[in-house]
């Protein structure tokens, strides 16, 4: 028989205001096996822990039940306290009477009854608890960063700075991401390339960092400290080692009509290309979809011209296997294509552009060499209308858009409006908004400058329709403050489209078994207290893949993620979770059901010898669990038809004992 101590926490008034804690302590004190029961104002405090430790010592407790907040909050705290008194930490159980009782109930009598029931269930479980011992696993001292935008770059640089190796896997031919396409950055208006490209060079020159450009993560196996990742290096048909980045091939390639994705399709590039002058690595890539040689076998101009002999039309994708201790998702975003917003004319009018397209139209390295010319007739626009929240902040009924605020659009639109007014004082600039949201250091001052100093017309209201007539964009909108309908003849309309996670994020999340929200942003382990970690151990989050962010916030989060990675890689060994699955070989019938449902690949099958009747020997196929890989999710215990699979710390008997205790009235 266990000797169990029960501790009821008031959590100030969080629990005590709704639950009669004295009554709970008294009722649970009468449960079989309970030799001590008390309540206290703050169990997690130093004095609360001392109270518990004293009781363990004085009453020779073999098990502890704490009725308090969620185990996610303080299970570790109480287990550590018990361990200091020589009690196995896995003999401590938590009954959650805060989140599951006091916070969701109003009636004291009902809440008290439920608290007693949950406490009784925890006591029933402790009766069957067994001491568990955590094992250890080694840590591979190298990190993988998926995505080479500013988030991935910053994370990689910080990890490398601490002396650990980092690999960056970037699906495009160069690192740099979205920031490389941006012209100027708010609120200081410094040029994005001027602050980004030195960092890209730092990455290239850092001995600890290896860049896998034009590559994608193919598969991820293993677990925290011991990931095994296969990286697909896509064939770029150019030998990276030989190519010097001289660019002759990109000037002489006769296939000139390839839409240039770096310039948002506003101009064209060649079939062999380097995305932009400061690309890292500065290596050419052949676009097989457009290359005449690849399609017809007749051309070979680049091969003839390449002094380094780097062109290889026969190159194949290669798979590289690498091991890592930690993985950082930095998969970034794309602005939503507003093609479904036909009322705003993006699909039908050439002079309706997105904000990222405008960045390229204003960039000195862009298709117009930095002169703002509208796409249709290359003329200087005089009246420019900005539409904010295109695809953002939509209600759930509206399947076209996103429910969230994209966060960065108010600021970059103010930036665009200000830059245009500064450079072209002959323009009239209108900004249509739902709300102007500019929290952030020096952000609101920036927006007010656009209104007060630069005379940008901010109109609260939405644009309902944009149509082109005789080269003029007829904009219909409503001014909500005056209640008037506005009709503006514009030359250029700019849509601030919603930020959406990169399309690759979902498949990467699946490989990493990292959770995502309904918008495909990665979920953090705790919204407030663990914002850069995924709930999956060893997976960290950097940048917009976790939620919309501007550059300063992205860089902060990237460094925070790096700090967490460094903390992990600095350890030589990791303590494993002892609550792992275990198979009873005598019951296992070798059906493979558990192996199929295991998301971690922790279960294998082996042929084993067993003693049969009459001194015979039988060979049976049975499951065995690798405890270092098992994450204790319990899927196998449910799938097992013969009841052979069980989860330590959450055994079928323990769960049933809890259910029985709850049902016993």
């Amino acid at each position: 028989m266990q000797r169990i101590g029960v501790f009821i926490c008031h959590c100030g008034t969080n629990i005590a205001a709704t639950v009669d804690v004295k009554a709970v302590a008294e009722a649970l004190g009468r449960e079989p096996g309970v030799v001590f029961s008390t309540d206290y104002q703050y169990m997690c405090s130093e004095s609360g822990q001392t109270l518990m430790r004293d009781a363990i010592r004085e009453h020779k407790l073999t098990g502890v039940v704490v009725c308090s907040c969620s185990p996610r909050m303080h299970e570790t705290t109480f287990r550590k306290a018990a361990e200091k008194e020589g009690l196995n930490p896995y003999m401590v159980e938590i009954a959650n009477i805060r989140e599951q009782v006091s916070w969701i109930h109003k009636d004291v009598a009902e809440a008290t009854e439920k608290a007693i029931i949950l406490g009784r269930a925890a006591i029933a479980k402790v009766h069957l608890n067994k001491p568990l011992k955590a094992g250890e696993s080694p840590v591979t001292k190298r990190a993988l960063v998926i995505g080479g935008g500013i988030a991935g770059i910053q994370t990689a640089l910080d990890i490398a700075e601490a002396g650990f190796e980092v690999d960056i896997v970037e699906k495009e031919p160069t690192i740099g991401g979205k920031m490389a396409q941006i012209d100027k950055t708010f609120p200081t208006l410094d040029c994005a390339a001027c602050i980004l490209t030195p960092k890209m060079v730092d990455v290239a020159q850092n001995e600890k960092i290896k860049i896998f450009s034009y590559s994608e993560v193919e598969s991820v196996k293993g677990f925290v400290g011991n990931f095994k990742v296969a990286i697909r290096k896509k064939a770029r048909y150019v030998d990276e080692e030989k190519c010097t980045g001289c660019g002759i091939c990109t000037e002489k390639c006769p296939q000139k009509k390839v839409p240039n994705e770096f310039n948002m399709g506003l101009d064209t590039r060649r079939a062999i290309y380097i995305p932009f002058a400061q690309a890292v690595p500065k290596v050419a890539t052949i676009d097989a979809n457009y290359c005449t040689m690849m399609k017809t076998g007749k051309c070979g101009v680049c091969q003839k011209l390449c002094g380094a002999g780097a062109i290889d039309y026969k190159q194949q994708d290669t798979i590289v296997e690498r091991e890592y201790g930690a993985i950082v998702a930095a998969t970034g975003f794309n602005p939503m294509k507003p093609t479904q917003y036909n009322e705003l004319g993006y699909a039908t009018c050439e002079d309706v552009v997105t904000s990222l397209e405008l960045e390229r139209l204003m960039n000195a390295a862009g298709p117009t060499a930095g002169t703002l010319l509208r796409p249709s007739d290359k003329k200087h626009p005089h009246t420019i209308v900005f539409v904010q929240c295109v695809g953002s902040r939509c209600d759930a009924e509206n399947e076209k858009g996103k429910p969230y605020c994209s966060k960065i659009c108010c600021m970059y639109t103010a930036k665009h409006a200000m830059l245009i007014r500064e450079k072209y004082p002959d323009t009239e600039v209108y900004v249509f908004y739902i709300d102007v949201r500019t929290p952030g250091k020096n952000f609101d001052e920036f927006y007010r400058r656009a209104v007060e100093q630069y005379g940008v017309h901010y109109v609260k209201g939405q644009v309902g329709k944009v149509v082109e007539e005789n080269g003029v964009l007829k904009v219909q909108a409503s001014d909500l403050l005056s209640g008037e309908q506005l009709h503006i003849d514009a030359d250029l309309v700019v849509l601030a489209t919603a930020v959406e996670p990169d399309k690759s994020a979902r498949s990467i999340a699946t490989m990493l078994t990292a959770s995502m929200d309904t918008n495909d942003f990665f979920t953090e382990a705790h919204a407030k207290l663990r914002p850069v970690e995924s709930p999956t151990a060893g997976i960290f989050l950097s940048g917009v893949c976790q939620g919309p962010k501007d550059i300063p916030e992205t860089v902060s989060q990237a460094s925070a993620a790096a700090a967490k990675v460094i903390g992990l890689l600095a350890k030589d060994k990791l303590t494993c979770n002892p609550c792992v699955a275990e198979s009873d070989e005598m019951l296992c019938n070798g059906c493979s059901s558990c192996e199929k449902v295991c998301p971690y690949g922790a279960i294998t099958y082996t042929d084993k010898e067993f003693r049969g009747p009459n001194r015979t020997t039988l060979i049976r196929r049975v499951a065995s669990v690798n405890p270092a890989v098992c994450q204790g999710c319990g899927a196998c215990t449910v799938a097992c038809p013969s009841g052979a699979m069980d989860l330590k710390g959450f055994s079928n008997r323990q769960i049933m004992a809890e259910v029985d205790a709850i049902c016993k009235m």
Partner: protein, 260 residues
């Protein structure tokens, strides 16, 4: 190919052409349009008030009789189509409205949105097929530059009407192509003509309607087609002097099929 047909009040009075040419074309196309017996006014304006049941009842009657006849219900007037389709959606998705409407009507079998409502254009596109229509054309309107005028009721609310993309539709343009003419896509083709505002504030309706015709004219249209009697009225009376003909799409259909 047999359908129940709901013409609506206006098609019996002001908009006889819309109805007449549709029927003549159906004969040429081999489509049997059977006018619903004892149909009543659809309710004219889709009752906006959620608790208004009485104004929905006549639409429910038409829907229920189409269901009982076992045929899809074809509508022609944009406004009737809008009302009947929205009421049908209510009967299908809003249990409260369905219960109250059925309590009033006391039908032999309560109506729960079982009927399928098709606009005449949808019937042409989805049942006859524009390709098949093209083959039946004896008098292609080659060289005619025709602008489609959708107005607001035919396509919106787009989730309920589910006919076409409300902001960038193609159904009437495809129809125009099928009868051998050249469609003219212009900006104001799905803007409001002014509607009933013409009764209260004629100047406002004039502004709306002339904007539509000027937009069509600017893109080179010689004719604008519509499916809505009120749109036709507004564009003709309030559309200014853009010099663009406004006709029902069924008239051009009949012309192309040689039955005008």
């Amino acid at each position: 190919m047999k359908f129940s047909y709901y013409p609506g009040c206006t098609l019996k009075t002001k908009a006889k052409d819309l109805d007449r040419y549709a029927r003549a074309s159906c004969v040429a196309l081999g489509v049997d349009l059977a006018e619903l017996p004892e149909w009543q006014c659809c309710g004219a304006v889709y009752p906006m008030a959620k608790d208004e049941i009485a104004t929905k009842l006549s639409s429910v009657r038409a829907l229920a009789s189409a269901r009982d006849l076992g045929t899809d219900l074809v509508t022609l007037c944009s406004a009737c189509h809008n009302v009947i389709k929205q009421v049908n959606n209510d009967m299908k998705t809003d249990a409260d409205i369905a219960l109250r409407a059925n309590n009033y009507l006391k039908l032999d079998t309560p109506y729960k949105g079982e009927a399928n409502v098709l606009h005449f254009l949808e019937m042409l596109r989805d049942r006859v097929g524009f390709d098949a229509l093209k083959e039946k054309v004896t008098n292609p309107l080659t060289g005619r530059k025709i602008g489609a005028y959708y107005g607001c009721l035919l396509l919106r609310p787009s989730k309920v009407m589910a006919m076409d993309d409300a902001e960038n539709p193609t159904i009437i343009e495809d129809f125009i192509r099928a009868i051998g003419a050249t469609p003219v896509v212009y900006g104001m083709r799905n803007e409001c003509c002014g509607g009933y505002v013409t009764l209260e504030n004629k100047a406002s309706a004039v502004k709306r309607s002339s904007a539509v015709l000027e937009s069509a004219k600017a893109k080179g249209a010689d004719t604008v087609v519509t499916a809505c009697p009120l749109c036709l009225y507004n564009l003709q009376k309030n559309g200014g002097d853009a010099g663009v003909d406004v006709v029902y799409f069924t008239e051009l259909l009949a012309e192309a099929l040689g039955v005008k």
